[in-house]
Symmetry: C2
Subunit: 380 residues, 2 copies
């Protein structure tokens, strides 16, 4: 049984907005005079505010991590497999905070917001947010909510990098740090895939140097193409073979039309790209991929990962997935090795899974039981 | 020493065109009333025409495989490391034929040629060529040159598929079949990457449904993007890290410009894309990638690779490269296993190399000595 009223679901959730009027100085040196964050919470904050968990979303994610916004909503939030009563992130025990990142396009202040200095949407003039800025804005949010320490900060992919940044920037602010399908920094190949995605957006004539809002245009072809590249790299070669094989959508092998879609995998990717471009903002995509590329937890320590992690006090759970080639198990092991070398408490597993980078979003065998077992220790 | 007059170079070469006035019925059922092939040859055909070698080029290749077209040419042909006096494909011993594939954009009949029925360029109306058609056209070329049997048919990547098709379609026509960095068919992931490349071209407003020639337009952004995707998949993650690391092109980490190129790898990829779009034709790119996707040597045998290879009589050399993830060693091993199961003579090696799919074009340690040793047996 799935749906709003099913067991294991947080049910109907209502996002809300917190407004911050104190200026926020960003890592790039610029200042946001004010900003808003949209968020959802699940579960109940206990009396001493010791059961709060922060969920950090990935590149294309948002604050809607669990439950349903309405009875008509077809699919629950993006991490409903992991968040809910009795689930790994058990909302019977924890107060879960899920926020749309600053610079996002789902309600938090971002490129589509009005720049008070001009009265027009920021567009590409929105400051280039870095992961430190997310941590800083989330810390203000925590204070607003009466939380001075997270029981755990949890994220996958880009979200895992935020969790890691929390552990490094504010060791006193979290007990546990959960880093899934992530990496301490991007590789040249990672950056190159993001660059191609950005280049696809930049090449779209509807991009208009990022000032498309005012012109009622959307660079949907470029954004769709960017998503196709991204989506493809989140799947594994074997997983794709299992799912699509070389199946033809129609018997048109000798087709005369050069743009005829003939393989199922093509039709699937085009659909994913087209869908995405209706629900995501191109300026945010540019900003988020750039934040990813810039991230390097060891940047302030000459690339020395051990030194970067030396001051952390959190306990770590690090999980990788065997077929994830976008953020391969080797990247997680790099992180784990540095943590162990520094004598930090760390639990690590590489989960055997065929679903590539996307595995952390899916109920792949062995993953959620392990995650649940770890989370049982949190807050005890 | 490199250059026209250096030892090991075939020196100056002059491409020439062969015209075929006999209609060619294609695998798709359509007919080309006439066609032209542009080619180069290196070395001298011996008296009994037993020393001829056919080179099959890859997706973005052409007939210019070795030597120089002029004293001013900065770089030699694309496979000069392997072709020349004393090299693996020794032009002191062999007569080497290198032809631009039908449907290409470097002088053979293709989408940019005039469609005799309309008097305008074929564009997207050019028939969808399949690998069988290349073999057929190359067989006619061989007959024209007085060759009735190749000492070896050799190719890498898409070229390796052509070599394989030769061995299957015309077992009596070749002694040796050399298949480098290739596969018996494309995977869903392979197809998906090609689909993204095609989608990039289709999304370019200058594509004009493929009829851009008559409108003095070139879909160079789309083609450039397609090439960026391709190029990225031809390199390995480790190779890219070695070459680029996370090196910034300039100290612009907090850059205000969302389209600023900051990492070296980005600048490199953009350059590769832009260069390619000046020297390659988008319709040919569509056609070649589609030919790749369609290829499946076992198609006529219900996917049974062993049965597909049962009638071959050639000796095989199959080489893969450890870091090639576009056509991984496992794909070569699949081919080798089927050949061995059928009791065919096959030499196989997986070369340890960091350069990904491109390795077959490069003098990576261990590769050319092994290739040379194998070729020493050819024609003896």
């Amino acid at each position: 049984m799935t749906g709003v009223d099913s067991a294991g679901s947080v049910g109907l959730v209502i996002p809300f907005v917190e407004v911050f009027e104190e200026p926020l100085t960003l890592a790039c040196g610029r200042t946001l005079d004010r900003f808003e964050l949209v968020l959802e919470t699940y579960g109940v904050l206990n009396a001493d505010a010791s059961n709060a968990i922060l969920i950090c979303h990935a590149l294309s994610g948002n604050h809607h991590a669990a439950g349903f916004h309405s009875r008509d909503e077809r699919k629950p939030g993006w991490w409903d497999v992991a968040i809910g009563p009795g689930k790994a992130i058990d909302t019977d025990r924890f107060f879960v905070v899920s926020v749309n990142n600053l610079g996002g396009c789902h309600g938090s202040t971002g490129p589509a917001s009005i720049n008070p200095a001009t009265g027009s949407p920021w567009g590409p003039d929105f400051p280039q947010i870095q992961i430190d800025d997310w941590v800083e804005s989330q810390r203000r949010l925590a204070q607003r909510l009466g939380i001075s320490r997270w029981a755990a900060v949890i994220g996958g992919s880009l979200g895992g990098m935020q969790a890691l940044q929390w552990a490094v920037s504010y060791p006193d602010w979290l007990d546990h740090c959960v880093v899934l399908a992530s990496a301490p920094r991007l590789s040249a190949q990672n950056i190159a895939f993001n660059e191609i995605a950005r280049h696809a957006i930049l090449s779209d004539p509807d991009w208009l140097d990022g000032h498309y809002y005012q012109n009622d245009r959307i660079p949907e072809k470029g954004l769709g193409l960017a998503r196709m590249v991204g989506h493809l790299t989140y799947m594994s070669a074997d997983g794709m073979s299992d799912k699509f094989g070389r199946e033809l959508r129609e018997g048109s092998l000798g087709s005369e039309e050069s743009d005829a879609v003939v393989f199922q995998v093509e039709s699937y990717l085009r659909y994913q790209g087209a869908q995405f471009s209706t629900r995501f903002d191109a300026n945010t995509y540019m900003l988020m991929t750039r934040a990813l590329d810039f991230f390097d937890i060891s940047r302030d320590h000459d690339g020395d990962l051990r030194r970067a992690l030396a001051n952390t006090t959190a306990s770590f759970l690090v999980l990788s997935f065997s077929s994830d080639w976008r953020f391969s198990p080797a990247r997680s092991q790099e992180l784990v090795d540095a943590l162990l070398a520094e004598g930090k408490p760390v639990t690590y597993a590489d989960i055997e899974a065929n679903e590539g980078h996307d595995s952390f979003l899916i109920d792949v065998p062995g993953y959620l039981p392990l995650f649940t077992a770890y989370m049982a220790r949190v807050g005890c």
